[in-house]
């Protein structure tokens, strides 16, 4: 019978135990587990995830362990449903608190969710960053995310001409 907990080794050489249920929410770990059936149960190496970030991922998995499995996106002709699929609203209060973190942490969790292939968490982090982008002027976006402005005034003028100016243009 398969063990109820899984050991993983993080990028900072920490060994962390997580339940099989939570481990299986990561498609990456799940595939590794399937590949290692019958082999000695060694800690699964996660060289791209630090212990601090992994604990955050486990927190999220714990909160969402009873969620229905994510459905693969299908192409929808119906515009309303398509809009819904692209809707970036975060409705879960716990999730709203979860994403209330420094940008560096958000990015690390997003990269971890991408590497571990935890779809729900990945989508949540992308939606959160997208929400942070919405309604902001270019200056505000640069300030919020620490992005350098490498466009010249000529570039900007040309783009406004090509795309049309909007009220958010600074």
């Amino acid at each position: 019978m398969a063990s109820e907990s899984i050991s993983v080794t993080t990028s900072d050489d920490q060994t962390i135990q997580l339940s099989r249920k939570h481990a299986q929410m990561s498609q990456t770990i799940n595939s590794m587990l399937e590949d290692s059936v019958g082999a000695d149960q060694e800690a699964i190496p996660l060289p791209n995830v630090s212990s601090e970030v992994l604990k955050k991922v486990i927190d999220w998995c714990t909160h969402h362990e009873n969620d229905p499995a994510p459905v693969e996106k299908v192409k929808k002709l119906n515009k309303k449903r398509e809009y819904k699929a692209k809707n970036s609203t975060i409705s879960d209060e716990w999730d709203k608190n979860f994403v209330n973190a420094e940008l560096r942490v958000i990015v690390d969790i997003l990269l971890a969710a991408n590497y571990l292939d935890v779809k729900g968490l990945f989508e949540l982090m992308c939606k959160h960053i997208a929400n942070e982008l919405k309604g902001k002027t270019p200056d505000q976006i640069r300030e919020r995310f620490g992005i350098q402005d490498d466009l010249t005034e000529e570039d900007k003028a040309a783009m406004r001409k090509a795309w049309g100016a909007t009220k958010n243009d600074s």
């Binding site: 002709l77 515009k79 398509e82 692209k86 970036s88 940008l103 560096r104 958000i106 990015v107 997003l110 990269l111 991408n114 992308c126 939606k127 960053i129 997208a130 929400n131 982008l133 919405k134 309604g135 902001k136 002027t137 270019p138 976006i141 640069r142 995310f145 620490g146 992005i147 350098q148 402005d149 490498d150 466009l151 570039d155 900007k156 040309a158 783009m159 406004r160 090509a162 795309w163 049309g164 909007t166 009220k167 958010n168 243009d169 600074s170």
Partner: protein
């Protein structure tokens, strides 16, 4: 426009540590026009991400300098290979008016996955229309703005047999009526049709076994043959959503469109026709009705609307006492106040939407009905709204952005256990409110603080 940028450049931002695929996914969630417009001016990298997203994540909407911008994609046709939704406006003053003859082959290869095409074109552009014709993936086509009947002949090739939704908002259909009838008849899978035609007998002779939504307007009175309509209605029992905004003579055919669930009309005769029970005595399953300009024989010009709103004593000509018992929502659009004698009928409906204040006074019967009232045009009527607030006991009241004055009026409601929803209000108006433990949240919903 083109400029070089380094895909690997980090630029110091943690966000720049993310691979482009992930950044594109993020942009995909933020893909409204204003956000993408901001992103293009953030940095070179974000400009590329936003521009690619603008096109490749499903939609390309061109509102200005239409053809000039569309022609830019002829230099990079691969950017259009994922586009499913193209909306395009070309104004009468726009130059150039059409694509060059030698660009037609390139345009034919663009937008190979087009599903939705919406055109508002006020000039002749046969080359453009020809190059967009024959897309087998196209399911939704909307054509608007044509004033020159000769352009319709160029539009015909856009109408492919696989269309599911077709919207022809043009008054130039007469010149190619027979050809268009053949094209429409070939669209066997058509589920939604919106068409403006002064004379529609030729449309009514077509048959679409899956038709669910039918929107007919600008029909000349007495132009329709009642027998033709009767046959059409009997052979399209699938229609559940009907918009019929003009005065037509209907034959007494109680069983027409028996499964109708939604009706939009400006004609009392249409309403009276469709709210009656079927010949079997069964009630119709109509759940939503929208009444527009209902008290007028002709739609008023916008400049007349103000006068229309101030009319008093004008009762709706429809007999609301026969509203179907399962009606969930009724909307009054550009109608005068509902006279009191009708309030007792509509107050049984779950949701009532209106753009003029209901004349709700002591005689009203809204109590304990759980009705939702939704208003979009109470601006300048704070005193009336206050009076109205005091008296209504609707469970949920929705206000739209135009009725800013009712925010003041709504203070009167705080002691009541009502749910107030403010939609599209600016945050300046609604955030920060707190009276007697009731908080106006940033979402615009007032709730009682625990």
């Amino acid at each position: 426009m083109e400029f070089a940028y380094d895909e690997e450049e980090d630029g110091g931002s943690p966000l720049m540590a993310l691979p482009n695929e992930i950044l594109r996914h993020i942009v995909h969630f933020a893909d409204n026009r204003s956000t993408l417009s901001s992103l293009r001016l953030v940095s070179k990298k974000w400009c590329h991400l936003a521009r690619d997203s603008f096109v490749s994540t499903f939609f390309l909407h061109i509102w200005e300098a239409g053809l000039e911008r569309l022609s830019q994609f002829a230099q990079r046709p691969h950017l259009t290979h994922l586009t499913e939704d193209l909306r395009f406006i070309m104004r009468a003053r726009d130059e150039p008016a059409d694509i060059k003859e030698d660009h037609i082959p390139i345009f034919r290869l663009m937008f190979p996955r087009l599903v939705t095409l919406s055109l508002i074109v006020r000039r002749e552009c046969p080359n453009l229309l020809r190059s967009l014709a024959g897309r087998s993936t196209l399911r939704t086509l909307s054509v608007d703005g044509f004033t020159n009947s000769s352009i319709m002949m160029d539009v015909l090739p856009l109408i492919t047999p696989d269309l599911i939704e077709l919207r022809l908002v043009t008054h130039s259909l007469v010149s190619c009526r027979d050809e268009l009838a053949d094209q429409l008849q070939a669209c066997r899978g058509l589920k939604a049709l919106r068409i403006a035609a002064q004379e529609i007998n030729w449309v009514m002779k077509c048959r679409w076994p899956n038709l669910q939504k039918l929107n007919l307007y600008n029909i000349r009175k007495k132009s329709i043959d009642p027998q033709v309509f009767y046959e059409f209605s009997m052979e399209h029992p699938t229609v559940i959503d009907l918009t019929w905004t003009d005065a037509v003579c209907l034959q007494d055919s109680p069983d027409s469109f028996p499964h109708l669930k939604k009706l939009i009309t400006s004609e009392p005769a249409i309403l009276n026709h469709f709210v009656r029970p079927l010949s079997s005595g069964d009630v119709r399953p109509i759940g939503k009705i929208k009444l527009t300009y209902i008290a007028c024989s002709l739609p008023p010009q916008l400049s007349q609307l103000k006068d229309l709103h101030t009319l008093t004593g004008v009762s709706i000509k429809c007999d609301l006492s026969h509203l179907p018992p399962n009606l969930r929502e009724i909307t009054f659009n550009h109608t005068p106040k509902i006279s009191l004698e009708y309030v007792r009928y509509v107050c049984n409906v779950q949701t009532v939407k209106y753009d003029t204040l209901l004349d709700v006074k002591d005689e009203h019967k809204w109590e304990e009905r759980g009705t939702t009232l939704s208003s979009s045009q109470n601006n300048g009527h704070a005193d009336i709204a206050q009076s109205w607030f005091k008296q209504t006991r609707a469970r949920k009241i929705v206000f739209w952005d135009k009725c800013s004055n009712v925010v003041e009026a709504s203070k009167l409601m705080f002691y009541r256990d009502h749910r107030l929803v403010f939609k599209r209000f600016s945050k300046k108006v609604v955030i920060g409110w707190e009276v007697d433990g009731i908080v106006l949240c940033s979402t615009g919903v007032i709730s009682r603080r625990e």
